[in-house]
C-alpha cells in the first residue's frame, strides 16, 4: 500500500474521529458539571440529524443554516429536560441519572420512530461541499475535510471555554463547591442548565454533520453512544482534553483496524478500554478522585 493511500485512510480516521471527539466532549462537559452520564447523548445526536432533515424538508433550510439552528433547537429541548426532570434527581446516587437518561432514550428514540419510520430519511451532501479536493498527495472528499475542520474548531473553542475562560472557571468551581459559588452570588442552577444545553448542542452538531453521510434513522445513536462511553472512560471521565484527543485517536485506530483486519474494527475500542482500565484505572487523562 502506498503512502498516499495510508495518508488518505488516516484522514478517514480523523473524519470518523471527529464525530467521536464531539460526542465524547459533550458527554464530558455534562459529566463534569452534573456528575451524570447522559445516556441520552446518542439520542441527542440523532435529534440533531433529524432536525436537519426536517428543516430541509419543511422549511427548506440549507445545510449551513441547519449547522447553527439544529444544535440550538435540540439544546433548548435538552435544557427543558434538565430543568424540569433531570434536576429532580440532584441529590440521588448518580447511577439514577444514568438510568433516567436511559429511560429517556427509549422514549425519544421510539417517538421519533413513530413519526419518521424506522428505515431512514434521505439527506445528501450539500452541493457546495460535494466532490473532492486536491490535497497534493490525493483527491479527498471535500465534505470529510469540512467535518474535520469544523470539529477541530469546535473542540478547540469548547476546550478554551471550559479550561481557560472566566465562565468556564465558574462552571468548574460550581461542580466542586456549589454552595460556596452560590454564596459568591453566581446562579449555579442556571449555569448547570446552560452547561447541559451546551453538551447537548455539541452532540446535536455531530448529528448535523453526520446527516449527509450516514443513514438518518431513529436508531443511529444506539451504537455510537456505547463507543462514546468507552472513549470517555479511556480518556478519563470529566477530562475535556482526554475526550477530544482520544476521540480522534480512536477514530484513527478504528479506521486502521478496518484497513488491516475489518472484522475487529468496531470491537477495537472496547479492547483498548479493557486494557486501559487494567493498567490505568482512571483513564489516560483522568483525575483519580472522580472515580
Amino acid at each position: 500500500m502506498s503512502m498516499d493511500y495510508i495518508a488518505s485512510q488516516l484522514f478517514n480516521g480523523l473524519a470518523s474521529g471527529a464525530f467521536y471527539a464531539l460526542l465524547a466532549l459533550g458527554l464530558s462537559v455534562i459529566f463534569g458539571t452534573l456528575r451524570i452520564i447522559n445516556f441520552a447523548h446518542g439520542a441527542m445526536y440523532m435529534l440533531g440529524a433529524f432536525a436537519t432533515y426536517y428543516g430541509a424538508q419543511y422549511l427548506h433550510l440549507n445545510f449551513f443554516v441547519a449547522l447553527i439552528l439544529a444544535p440550538l433547537v435540540v439544546a433548548l429541548l435538552g435544557m427543558l429536560f434538565e430543568a424540569l426532570l433531570l434536576r429532580r434527581l440532584q441529590g440521588a446516587d448518580p447511577v439514577y441519572g444514568l438510568l433516567f437518561t436511559f429511560a429517556a432514550t427509549l422514549v425519544v428514540v421510539n417517538l421519533v420512530r413513530l413519526v419518521a419510520g424506522a428505515m431512514g430519511s434521505p439527506y445528501n451532501i450539500p452541493d457546495a461541499l460535494s466532490g473532492a479536493t486536491n490535497l497534493g498527495f490525493t483527491l479527498y472528499p471535500t465534505y470529510k475535510l469540512f467535518v474535520i475542520v469544523v470539529s477541530v474548531i469546535v473542540c478547540g473553542l469548547i476546550w478554551w471555554f471550559v479550561e481557560r475562560s472566566m465562565t468556564g472557571a465558574r462552571i468548574r468551581a460550581a461542580t466542586e463547591n456549589p454552595v460556596l459559588v452560590r454564596a459568591l452570588g453566581i446562579n449555579t442552577r442556571r449555569l448547570v442548565t446552560l452547561t447541559f444545553g451546551l453538551g447537548v448542542a455539541i452532540a446535536a452538531l455531530a448529528g448535523v454533520l453526520a446527516a449527509p453521510t450516514t443513514n438518518v434513522a431513529p436508531s443511529m445513536g444506539d451504537d455510537i453512544i456505547i463507543y462514546t462511553f468507552a472513549i470517555v472512560v479511556i480518556g478519563g471521565l470529566g477530562s475535556i482534553t482526554g475526550s477530544i484527543l482520544m476521540g480522534f485517536a480512536l477514530g484513527v485506530l478504528q479506521t486502521l483496524g478496518a484497513v488491516y483486519y475489518p472484522p475487529i474494527a468496531t470491537t477495537l475500542i472496547f479492547i483498548v478500554m479493557v486494557a486501559v482500565i487494567a493498567l490505568r484505572p482512571s483513564g489516560l487523562f483522568g483525575r483519580p478522585e472522580l472515580s
Binding site: 480516521g13 424506522a118 445528501n124 453521510t213 443513514n215 451504537d223 478496518a258 475489518p262 472484522p263
Partner: protein, 404 residues
C-alpha cells in the same frame, strides 16, 4: 421456621400441579382457521413487508372467499420485532391456538426459528421475506417452504447478468455475518463461469456506519464492479459512502439485496444501481392489476415483491387445502410437492419436492433516476430475465438432508 413452611408448601404444590398440563386447544372442525403473518411491523423491514404483508395476505383470503372447508379464515398479525426468540414464542402460541399456516417471516433469524417450530408442531411455514439459503439447505424440513428468493438466486440472477456483459473485476463489500458470507460465496460462484472474480472483498462488522475506508480501498483497486452485499441500514450507509467517493462514476454498482419500497426513502441515492428481484409491480398487466388493488388499500403505496409473494403463497396454500379437503400439513405437503404453477407473481414456478425451494423466474433491473420515471414509484427498468432453472440452486447440488 417460616422459611421451611414456605419450602414445604411449594414442594407440595409442585407435586400436586405437575401432572396437570396445559393441553393445547384442539381445533374443532368448525373453528376458524388462522393464518399468522409473522413479520416486522415497525422496524427496519416494515416498509418492505410489515402492514403491507398483512394486507396482501388478507387480500388472498378475501379473493378466495373468506372460508375454506366451511371454516372461516382469520389473518393474525404477529410482530416478531426482528427477534428470533420472540418469533419462536409467538409462532408456538399461534400454532397452539388455531393457526395452520405462518407466512412472510422477513428476517432470516426469525425464519429459521419459526421453521424449527413448524417442524415441531407439524404445521406449515412459507418464508417469503427471509433470504438465507439455509432454509433449503442445512435447516430444511418437511413443513417449511422457501418462497420468494434466497442468496443463491440473487447471485445467479444479478451476478450472472452483470458478469455476462464482460465486467470481470469485482470488489465486494461484505458484512461479517452469515448472510454476508453466503452472499459472497454465492456471487463468487455465479460470476466465475464468465471469467469474473472478486479482486478483493472487505468483511466488516454488521452495523458499520462509516464505510469510508472501504470505499477508498475500493477506489484504489480500480474494479469494474462494486458489489454491496449487505442489507438494511448497511446498504444505505455504504451507498452514501460510495457516492461520496465518486465510485458511482467510476464503476458499476450492484446492490445485492434490495426491494422497491426502499427507493422511496432516497431516490437520488439509488439511481443507477442494479438490483435483482422476483417481481415488479409494473412488469405485466396482471402484476399491475394486482398492484392497483393493493395500492387502493395501502394509501397509494406500491407493493414490493415480498408482499406480492405473501399473497401468492397464501392463495396457493388455500387452493391446496381445498383440493385435499383438509388442513393436515402432511396431506398439504404431499399435494404441493412437485406442483407447477404460474400466477401474477411467479412465472414457471414449481414447489420443489427435493428441498422445498419454490423456484420461479428471477429478474434484474436498473433503478431509474427521477427524471426518467413516468409515474409514481415506477423506479425499475427490466434489463434481464433469468429462468427458474438457472436462477435457483440445482437439485443436484442441494445440501438439504431430506429426512422425510
Amino acid at each position: 421456621m417460616r422459611l421451611s413452611r414456605i419450602v414445604s408448601a411449594t414442594c407440595a404444590a409442585i407435586l400436586l400441579c405437575a401432572p396437570l398440563s396445559a393441553a393445547p386447544a384442539t381445533a374443532a372442525d368448525t373453528a376458524p382457521i388462522h393464518i399468522a403473518v409473522i413479520t416486522d411491523m415497525s422496524g427496519v423491514y416494515a416498509s418492505i413487508s410489515g402492514q403491507g404483508a398483512v394486507e396482501a395476505t388478507k387480500m388472498a383470503v378475501e379473493d378466495f372467499g373468506g372460508k375454506v372447508l366451511g371454516r372461516e379464515i382469520i389473518v393474525d398479525t404477529v410482530d416478531h420485532q426482528n427477534s428470533g426468540p420472540t418469533a419462536e414464542a409467538k409462532a408456538r402460541e399461534e400454532f397452539d391456538n388455531g393457526a395452520e399456516l405462518a407466512v412472510d417471516l422477513t428476517n432470516s433469524a426469525t425464519a429459521l426459528a419459526v421453521a424449527a417450530v413448524a417442524k415441531d408442531k407439524h404445521k406449515i411455514a412459507i418464508v417469503s421475506g427471509g433470504g438465507t439459503s439455509a432454509l433449503t439447505g442445512a435447516n430444511c424440513n418437511k413443513y417449511t417452504y422457501h418462497y420468494a428468493y434466497d442468496t443463491y438466486a440473487l447471485a445467479h440472477s444479478e451476478g450472472v447478468s452483470v458478469a455476462k456483459t464482460g465486467l470481470k473485476t469485482w470488489y465486494g463489500i461484505v458484512p461479517d455475518y452469515a448472510f454476508g458470507k453466503s452472499m459472497l460465496s454465492d456471487f463468487t460462484d455465479a460470476i466465475a463461469p464468465f471469467g469474473a472474480t472478486f479482486v478483493h472483498a472487505d468483511t466488516m462488522p454488521l452495523g458499520t456506519t462509516d464505510f469510508s475506508s472501504y470505499m477508498l480501498a475500493a477506489k484504489n483497486a480500480h474494479p469494474q464492479v462494486l458489489a454491496l452485499l449487505n442489507a438494511g441500514a448497511d446498504t444505505v450507509n455504504s451507498m452514501k459512502a460510495a457516492k461520496e467517493f465518486g465510485l458511482d462514476k467510476q464503476m458499476k454498482i450492484v446492490v445485492g439485496l434490495f426491494f422497491l419500497p426502499q427507493v422511496d426513502t432516497d431516490p437520488s441515492l439509488w439511481a443507477g444501481a442494479k438490483v435483482a428481484d422476483s417481481w415488479y409491480w409494473n412488469q405485466t398487466p396482471e402484476a399491475r392489476k394486482w398492484a392497483d388493488r393493493y395500492s387502493a388499500r395501502m394509501n397509494g403505496a406500491r407493493p414490493g415483491s415480498i408482499q406480492a409473494a405473501d399473497y401468492s403463497s397464501t392463495m396457493q396454500w388455500l387452493k391446496a387445502v381445498k383440493a385435499v379437503g383438509s388442513v393436515d400439513a402432511d396431506k398439504v405437503v404431499a399435494y404441493l410437492d412437485g406442483r407447477k404453477f404460474s400466477d401474477f407473481y411467479a412465472q414457471n414456478a414449481e414447489w420443489r419436492a427435493r428441498d422445498h425451494s419454490v423456484v420461479h423466474d428471477m429478474y434484474v433491473y436498473d433503478i431509474l433516476p427521477q427524471s426518467q420515471v413516468k409515474e409514481k414509484d415506477a423506479w425499475y427498468k427490466l434489463v434481464d430475465t433469468i429462468p427458474a432453472s438457472q436462477a435457483f440452486r440445482p437439485v443436484a447440488t442441494s445440501t438439504c438432508d431430506k429426512t422425510w
